[in-house]
């Protein structure tokens, strides 16, 4: 027999097929195949046989779909006509309700293979698998998915596998013979691509093929729906949250290393700074002293402070005969505070008050003042006419000598 690894696959890239045969007296025949699908070719990653359920379950990776097939003394198979399949299901075990059974149907050549197992047996087994951290993606009954294997054909019209002789026609099972004792002749090597595998693993391998090809959207088994949901959540967790946490952890590790490095450099530099701290203090003092000197230098070189006599002379020279000045204040003191003895002066400001015979002469005086290059603006801050017709005025002049 020569099996082809290549076929038409729809979904998934890795899965585990586990075939469990429960014999009388609790003896177990378990075969496990972990298969991967790459470039539309199925390859066997590992294959394992065991008579201990616990041992073989431990070999299944936790985050891949597990396709389980149950068989043996708890499972009943019947080959029935397509139209009588449902009735057969009801009549298989008289006196029991359909809710008590988990059943599977497999399309044979012209008939239907109906398989049954008590739900409590299924629940017990799934519970055991779940406790080991595994979730069952699909549950089948019997070895009948073997017809999924492309290129499989029976010599002498039948394929012999442990506990069964299956008869195929055009890649479909026509009928089968079941034996509760595994015959030695049923175990033989099979060529699979470039590898040779034992016929014990054919059913497990066919479960993987079935997983890659089957459309599970129409499958509405309650038991499996919960398992699938949980598996999807588990895979989502391992595909998104765990990588994210790993990424954060790596970042934190890198950050920690960086922090240690920074801290080390910091300590080395800090010690050199501590040693030379007196230099820093001296430099700070020198810088401060320089800033103060600069301020003093600027104050001494203030051009405006040198032109007070000139401003007084020029302002007085342009006074018309009708005007008498009473005060001329160059850079007046800002709101003198005698208690605090603060002397602050309004730089760039001149205030004048005086008496004017007429507003015309005051206007003329303003024009005269405005003609000086160093006067920026002249503003009348107050004017009042006295009873004798003389006007009291106050002027404010802004000056700038830095032109």
């Amino acid at each position: 027999m020569n099996l082809h690894g290549k076929s038409i696959f729809q979904k998934g890239s890795r899965c585990a097929g586990l075939y469990l045969w429960f014999g009388n007296d609790s003896e177990l025949f378990a075969s496990l195949v972990i298969a991967v699908r790459r470039n539309e070719v199925v390859r066997i990653e590992s294959a394992l046989f065991s008579d201990s359920l616990e041992d073989i379950i431990r070999k299944v990776p936790g985050n891949i779909p597990l396709i389980l097939s149950l068989d043996g003394c708890h499972v009943v198979h019947r080959l029935v006509n397509n139209d009588s399949a449902d009735n057969t299901l009801f009549n298989t075990l008289q006196g029991s309700g359909t809710n008590d059974f988990y059943f599977g149907k497999h399309e044979a050549a012209e008939m239907m293979i109906v398989s049954l197992i008590r739900k409590e047996e299924v629940s017990k087994l799934i519970g055991l698998i779940n406790r080991e951290g595994l979730l069952v993606f699909d549950l089948q009954l019997g070895p009948f998915s073997i017809d999924r294997l492309t290129g499989i054909s029976g010599d002498k019209g039948g394929i012999e596998i442990p506990f069964y002789t299956l008869f195929l026609e055009n890649g479909r099972i026509t009928h089968f013979e079941r034996s509760y004792n595994n015959k030695t002749r049923n175990t033989y090597p099979v060529e699979f691509g470039n590898d040779i595998i034992s016929s014990e693993f054919l059913v497990s391998l066919s479960l993987c093929y079935d997983f890659f090809q089957k459309d599970y959207s129409k499958d509405n088994s309650e038991i499996l729906a919960a398992q699938r949901k949980e598996l999807i959540a588990k895979r989502l967790l391992s595909a998104t949250l765990l990588p994210f946490l790993l990424f954060v952890f790596i970042l934190l590790t890198v950050n920690f290393a960086l922090l240690l490095n920074l801290d080390k450099k910091n300590r080395i530099l800090s010690s050199s700074v501590t040693v030379g701290k007196h230099h820093l203090i001296q430099i700070d003092s020198l810088r401060k002293a320089l800033v103060i000197r600069q301020k003093i230098f600027d104050a001494k070189n203030d051009l405006g402070a040198r032109y007070l006599a000139y401003f007084s002379d020029r302002i007085a020279s342009r006074v018309p005969p009708e005007i008498t000045l009473s005060t001329l204040n160059i850079y007046p003191q800002k709101s003198p505070n005698q208690k605090r003895n603060q002397y602050l002066f309004s730089d760039g400001l001149i205030t004048i008050s005086g008496l004017s015979g007429s507003t015309v002469s005051l206007e003329k005086y303003l024009e005269n003042l405005s003609s000086f290059w160093w006067i920026e603006s002249v503003r009348i801050t107050g004017y009042s006419m006295e009873k004798d017709g003389i006007g009291l005025f106050n002027l404010e002049i802004s000056i700038s000598v830095n032109q």
Binding site: L251, V273, S326, L328
Partner: protein, 153 residues
């Protein structure tokens, strides 16, 4: 958020601290050169003309300047104020002044004399005003002026 609070924030702070310490270390490394440069600049400032004070006493300076001026016989000293000292941001401001009576033109000349005296203090304010003596009923022109000297503390 937790990762930031427990990890990255500390690294950012450590990085900032390192930058600051590195700058300080750089200053320490070049301390001698920097100090020399700063001292040279300070000396340049200190050797500027005008920092040499001929007369220590401010009031004496006012009196001497007026009495040595060309208008000494035309003006009359009414008041010489004491020196007020203000300290602000490591800078000392000594303010002093006087009130003088005379003709306006003589007062202006006197003001110019003070401006050209080459003293540390600058004339910072001058006020000309008319004054009437209540007893003699005589009106005159007076000038009140302030000089301010700025020094380092």
């Amino acid at each position: 958020m937790l990762a930031y609070l427990f990890g990255f924030r500390k690294s950012i702070e450590a990085s900032r601290e390192l930058r600051s310490v590195r700058e300080q270390a750089e200053v320490v490394k070049n301390a001698e050169t920097l100090k020399t440069g700063l001292e040279v600049r300070l000396n340049e400032f200190d050797s500027q003309p005008g920092n040499l004070k001929v007369i220590e006493d401010d009031q004496e300076f006012i009196l001497t300047t007026i009495n040595q001026s060309s208008v000494k016989s035309q003006v009359r000293i009414i008041e010489i104020m004491g020196t007020d000292t203000q300290a602000d941001n490591d800078i000392i401001r000594n303010t002093y002044g006087a009130t003088v009576e005379g003709a306006f033109i003589d007062l202006v000349n006197l003001l110019r004399t003070f401006e050209e005296a080459g003293h540390d203090g600058n004339i910072v304010s001058a006020t000309f005003y008319r004054f009437s003596d209540n007893k003699t009923r005589k009106a005159s022109t007076r000038m009140k002026f302030y000089l301010q000297e700025i020094k380092a503390l």
